[in-house]
């Protein structure tokens, strides 16, 4: 069972991290929200919130909404608009232990700015391939 939280503890959660690996999204919305690409994982069976007093959702587009902590600003979750409760992508930085992770793909790479690149050789997918 994995646990995770924002910086201040106003949002905490748990669940079973899938072994799929970390997806890295380079789209403009992820980068504007997070200063750079967003690195996220999936949880088998979804996320269970154990403390939610700080959780706020922002609908950033027709296809996604973003959960963040309104007290400390930590990015927590990304969700499709009609997803079941807890069926969210989870920011890997919020996990208490993610030392054993691995990247498995990069997506929306046509939006990646030229000034950075990652050293791994996992698949790079455009938005129409993701």
């Amino acid at each position: 069972m994995e646990s995770g939280s924002c910086l201040c503890g106003a949002v905490t959660f748990q669940g079973q991290r899938s072994n799929r690996g970390v997806g890295v999204c380079h789209c403009k919305m992820c980068r504007v929200q997070n200063s750079g690409p967003l690195m996220a994982v999936r949880f088998e069976g979804g996320v269970t919130l154990t403390e939610a007093r700080g959780l706020k959702w922002f609908a950033s587009s027709d296809i996604g909404k973003r959960g963040f902590c309104a007290e400390c600003g930590s990015t927590l979750f990304w969700s499709a608009p009609d997803a079941a409760d807890g069926d969210w992508d989870v920011s890997v930085g919020t996990l208490d232990d993610a030392a054993d992770e691995k990247i498995f793909e990069h997506i929306f790479v046509e939006f990646q700015p030229a000034y950075y690149d990652f050293a791994d050789d996992t698949p790079r997918k455009r938005s129409d391939e993701a």
Binding site: Q33, G73, T75, V92, G93, Y115
Partner: protein, 148 residues
């Protein structure tokens, strides 16, 4: 005086402008990665950041004794990391999220900090082109000057 660049949060509520020092950096510390889902990629303002719209939406969180993190309370966009005034930075220093800027041409990724905070399963290419500092290196930069 460097060119002043404009920046905005995801929803456009908060707008800012700042003259920037050259060089873009990435911080790999666990706090930055918990805050923004990956390393914090930022540019340094010369002096203060000017908020030109949406100041009422800006929230801050004191993440340590020496800094606070500002974000938009409406959309969750990280805005800047503000080092509080100190001997080294009498006015403090504003370290601003790089991706907020409308014009990112000319940004050159030339330094990384808290590289020992990187969990080890990701890395940026071109490490040899950058100044890379550990946590100890960064704290040494800010250590009180020895009495002469």
């Amino acid at each position: 005086m460097s060119d002043v660049k404009t920046a905005a949060c995801l929803y456009g509520t908060v707008k800012m402008s700042a003259a920037l020092k050259p060089g873009l950096g990435a911080c790999h510390c666990s706090s930055c990665r918990r805050w923004c889902g990956g390393p914090l990629m930022s540019v340094h303002a010369e002096g203060a950041v000017e908020v030109t719209a949406g100041a009422e939406a800006i929230k801050t969180y004191a993440s340590s004794d020496w800094a606070e993190r500002a974000f938009c309370g409406e959309c969750g966009s990280g805005l800047y990391y503000h080092l509080q005034p100190s001997e080294h930075f009498p006015q403090g220093e504003y370290i601003v999220s790089a991706c907020l800027f409308d014009d990112q041409t000319g940004f050159k990724f030339d330094h990384e900090v808290f590289v020992d905070g990187n969990p080890g399963w990701y890395s940026f290419s071109g490490e040899e082109t950058r100044n890379r500092m550990t946590e100890a290196d960064v704290f040494a930069m800010f250590a009180p000057k020895e009495e002469g």
